[in-house]
């Protein structure tokens, strides 16, 4: 089982995503933004960071990278793709996921341990969780406020495509407390909080995030 981890200029959490894949006993394969090549991976993680500095809009420039053309094609064929934080922003900009992420309502970068509810335990990245499980993972972002127009939000809710929701407090003003969403097939998932930073209680608040990387193993084996 090979999980590809993309590095753009300015990507930061690629080492963490690769470590999380290894903790799940998958092989982590580095993917370079400038290559038109997914190197035979079975799933892709678009990690967090500040691709191209995020100066224009988070993810706006990264979506044009050569490797993203391949990711978009592969996602259309059903390959599991996970976008974390900046990766989520990139997937939205690239049109793989609906909506957009804007500046936090409080206007500050927020780094804190955040409770989430797993609202959809049926996606390629969430089958190892009990439905409605509550997990504690780090959130660290300045532009994490999820927005979409009303009909899109209604559709996401109706189809159960809200995968993670903030519990307790809404840290950034997201619509409907949305922390993460999935595409219509449940293969592409994006979320603002960082499951890859919660794989070991030594370095994270919990190991609650590991389930996502284990889930994708099942998804690939089954597919």
């Amino acid at each position: 089982m090979k999980i590809g981890v993309i590095t753009f200029p300015g990507t930061l959490d690629d080492v963490d995503a690769a470590r999380a894949a290894r903790y799940a006993e998958a092989e982590a394969v580095p993917l370079w933004h400038a290559d038109h090549d997914l190197r035979g991976v079975d799933a892709v993680i678009v990690p967090g960071g500040f691709s191209y500095g995020d100066y224009l809009r988070c993810g706006a420039i990264a979506k044009f990278a050569p490797v993203m053309t391949e990711v978009i094609d592969a996602a259309k064929r059903g390959m599991p793709v996970l976008g974390i934080c900046n990766g989520f922003q990139i997937l939205c900009e690239a049109g793989l996921l609906p909506g957009a992420l804007l500046r936090n309502a409080g206007l500050h970068f927020v780094c804190r341990d955040q409770w989430l509810r797993v609202e959809n335990a049926g996606t390629a990245w969430t089958t190892r969780y009990e439905p409605d499980a509550e997990i504690l993972v780090p959130l660290k972002s300045g532009e994490g406020r999820y927005v979409a127009d009303q009909s899109t939000v209604d559709e996401l809710e109706a189809e159960g495509r809200v995968v993670f929701r903030y519990v307790g407090n809404n840290p950034n003003g997201s619509r409907n407390d949305i922390a993460g969403v999935t595409d219509a097939r449940g293969r592409v998932v994006g979320l603002m909080p960082h499951p890859e930073h919660a794989i070991d209680a030594l370095t994270g608040p919990t190991d609650d995030g590991l389930g996502m990387f284990l889930s994708v193993l099942d998804a690939v084996v089954k597919a």
Partner: protein, 763 residues
């Protein structure tokens, strides 16, 4: 643009026009300094040379007022203290061997004045600068810390300055992917108009990869890479841009530019990865960062550290602005630039790595076999100097030193007569007032803006006493870092105050279970031209150096920032001390939160005396500063450190929290809140509860001991001669901090008081 404006002041021209008046005073040079430059060169300097000498001989770059005192660090460092040191004072940053083949490098630097002018960018570029220092050693930068000082928390100017500085530290560090693992936020009226922004960076490399920058090897190429060079940060030198030196902005000349630099963390992040790949592929002789004084500094330092001369062609420098003069190109402080020395056969490979990362790289010169640094522009020589005279042989001052006339009065004004709380109601109220005061309340408003998780190796960060990082994922070996300084103690007695700063940082490292290994510092003081300030400085340096000898730790580097004052009022003397420790397995680190196991015993290690001089209580409740600071006993601190390390190694401890500002009351409240658990405390019978709760005696730590280990641990303390007092138990069911006969305060009430202050002031 007319051609005359491009006509530079060449060496030839300078030699032919000895009597041309030069604006050396506007550039901050004294008459005799200017005379010395003329003597060194045997002629008047060109504009470009004058620009170089004036920045390199500034207090900031030359350490001209502090040099004679800083020598004391070297003189007092023994071979034994140097045991783990791979590079020390004089290099970009100190380097120590932490074992398992790892070398760790760390340094703290000030960016105080730029952060007052433009808080966000000043703080951001402060972080950027210190990170490049670490990078230049060949290390991967791993984390940052930010000791900060501000004016009164409720002053209008603090509302302007603090949010900008915090956002700048976060904006730059977060975007670089460096976890922020600690720092300080301290408020005092003396910092109004002169906030302190100190930034620390730590990095690691394999021991064999240590790189010391120098330009040797005739024919080797000098490559400038990173951002383009623009007009930012030129400051005083910009007067050279105007023919008349009148500073007249309306004369159609270039306006006097702000000396503000704008940071581009994305470019720096890419530069980091690019440099590390260059080091890894072994294609560089050395890399030097460009910081204060820009190319002037980098070329002069590289050349004077090497064995030859250097020739640079300024026309090759990629520029961002049009019509820059050679003096401006040389002194621009544009950020995110580095300078490399590369063998000719490796230049192509070097360029390939830079292209991969989209980093602009340009050969701008080469190492020559002469002894001079020669810089050409438009085919003519504009600089021809012996590089050592620029970089290392600047002026040295023995500034007058005088103990302040009012020092005795300050000491005589003891806190003994201040009204103390005595009833349980008064004590309860004092606890709540103290934990909500700006210097003791939660720093969450600040630290929430910093990424502490990135790279996945942060084992402890806020709200713990120390930042702990895993360095080796296989062995679990890691480091611990803390910075501290109580400026009020230093004001009362700078010698003892500096030792106390060292003691606190040492203790903070020790409470994590790590063994302290090395020291860095950032000495923030007022004007060196004030003999009273020089006295504080001299005393602080001696105190810190003598303290390091007692603890057996080397000072591996540091930074001096003078002229921190508003009008004639200097800031509190603020020698920020950073201590680095090593922990062989980060899994045994100790957090500050109690309650990992129900029923843990709470022990107070050390002795509590009636010590309130310079205390937070005197400050918060009475606005008082006077008397003597707490006594310092470094032998005791060392013993405490050994006991904590042993306790952590043998699993005898489950949490530890150092006692400092605010005393035991503060430590108890924080330990409960961090651990989200209650506790029942019984103060020793016969002791004065006020003194027990609020005294700031040094050398004390609160520890939580699993019940099964209590006897073993207390026996060890007794055998080793470390006083201990059992003061209570952890009580997870209570949801309150219950101090018998004093007060029982619910955790919710404590948390509300402790965490409400900064949001109320700054949101």
């Amino acid at each position: 643009m007319t051609t005359t404006e491009h006509l530079a002041d060449t060496v030839e021209h300078a030699a032919a026009t000895p009597d041309t008046a030069q604006p050396f005073r506007e550039l901050g040079l004294k008459d005799d300094e200017y005379a010395r430059i003329r003597e060194i060169l045997g002629r008047r300097p060109t504009d470009a040379e004058l620009a170089m000498y004036s920045v390199m001989w500034s207090e900031h770059c030359s350490y001209k007022s502090s040099k004679v005192h800083l020598k004391y660090f070297g003189e007092t460092t023994t071979d034994e203290m140097r045991e783990h040191m791979l590079a020390g004072i004089g290099e970009n940053a100190g380097v120590v061997d932490i074992g398992d083949g790892w070398a760790v490098t760390f340094k703290v630097e000030s960016h105080n004045h730029p952060s007052y002018v433009e808080p966000y960018q000043g703080a951001a570029t402060g972080v950027g600068g210190i990170v490049r220092d670490i990078l230049a050693m060949g290390a991967r930068p791993l984390a940052v810390m930010d000791p900060l000082r501000f004016g009164p928390a409720d002053a209008p100017d603090t509302r302007r300055v603090l949010p900008g500085i915090v956002a700048g530290v976060g904006g730059y560090g977060n975007c670089l992917g460096l976890p922020n693992i600690g720092g300080e936020v301290v408020f005092d009226a003396t910092y109004a108009g002169n906030p302190l922004v100190n930034a620390l960076c730590v990095g690691a490399m394999r021991v064999e990869d240590l790189h010391l920058a120098h330009a040797s090897g005739t024919g080797n190429k000098i490559i400038l890479f990173g951002a383009r060079t623009g007009l930012d940060g030129i400051g005083g030198v910009s007067v050279l841009a105007s023919e008349t030196f009148s500073g007249d902005e309306s004369a159609g000349k270039r306006k006097k530019l702000p000396s503000v630099q704008v940071g581009d963390p994305f470019t720096e992040k890419v530069l980091i990865e690019c440099c590390l790949e260059l080091f890894q592929s072994g294609i560089v002789v050395g890399i030097q960062d460009l910081g204060g004084a820009g190319l002037s500094c980098a070329t002069a330092e590289l050349a004077s550290a090497g064995d030859g001369g250097m020739h640079v062609d300024l026309d090759l420098v990629p520029l961002r602005a049009e019509g820059m003069t050679p003096a401006e190109v040389l002194s621009s402080e544009s950020q995110e630039r580095m300078c490399a020395v590369v063998e000719p056969s490796n230049v192509d490979a070097f360029m390939e790595v830079c292209a991969k990362w989209d980093v602009i790289a340009t050969v701008i010169g080469e190492v020559t076999d002469g002894e001079r640094l020669v810089i050409d522009w438009h085919g003519q020589t504009v600089v021809d100097v012996p590089p050592r005279t620029v970089a290392h042989e600047g002026p040295v001052y023995h500034r007058p030193i005088e103990r302040p006339a009012d020092q005795d009065a300050l000491i005589a004004n003891t806190p003994d007569a201040l009204a103390r709380p005595s009833t349980s109601d008064e004590l309860r109220e004092t606890i709540l007032k103290m934990i909500a005061s700006p210097n003791l309340c939660s720093r969450g408003w600040v630290t929430e803006q910093y990424d502490r998780y990135v790279r996945g190796n942060t084992v402890l960060a806020q709200p713990n006493d120390t930042g702990v990082l895993r360095i080796d994922e296989e062995t679990g070996r890691g480091i611990a870092l803390a910075t501290d300084c109580n400026g009020r103690y230093c004001k009362l007695d700078p010698y003892v105050g500096a030792k106390l700063a060292l003691a606190e940082a040492y203790r903070n490292v020790a409470v994590s279970g790590a063994a302290p290994l090395a020291v860095t510092n950032c000495l923030n003081f007022g004007s060196p031209e004030d003999p009273a300030v020089m006295w504080q400085f001299e005393q602080a340096v001696r105190g810190l150096a003598d303290g390091c000898v007692e603890l057996g730790l080397p000072v591996t580097g540091g930074n001096v920032s003078f002229y921190n004052q508003t009008g004639s009022t200097a800031i509190l003397p603020t020698p920020v001390v950073g201590v680095l420790g090593v922990i062989d397995d980060v899994r045994r680190r100790l957090p500050s939160g109690i309650g990992a196991e129900a029923g843990e015993t709470l022990l107070l290690l050390g002795e509590t005396r009636d010590e309130f001089g310079g205390s937070e209580w005197a400050h918060v409740v009475h606005g008082h500063l006077g008397g003597q600071p707490p006594a310092v006993d470094l032998a005791r601190e060392k013993l405490l450190g050994e006991v904590l390390a042993a306790g952590s190694r043998d699993g005898m401890l489950s949490a530890a929290h150092d006692l400092s500002e605010g005393g035991l009351a503060q430590a108890l409240v924080e330990s409960c809140l961090h651990g989200e658990t209650g506790a029942r405390v019984v103060l020793p019978s016969g002791a004065d509860p006020f003194v027990m709760l609020f005294s700031e005696s040094a050398g004390r730590v609160l520890v939580a001991v699993p019940r099964s280990e209590e006897l073993r641990f207390t026996d060890m303390c007794t055998v080793r001669g470390l006083p201990w007092t059992k003061i209570g138990v952890v009580d997870p069911d209570a949801a309150a901090l219950d101090i018998q006969d004093v007060a029982s305060i619910g955790l919710d009430e404590l948390r509300t008081a402790w965490s409400g202050t900064l949001p109320a002031l700054f949101d």
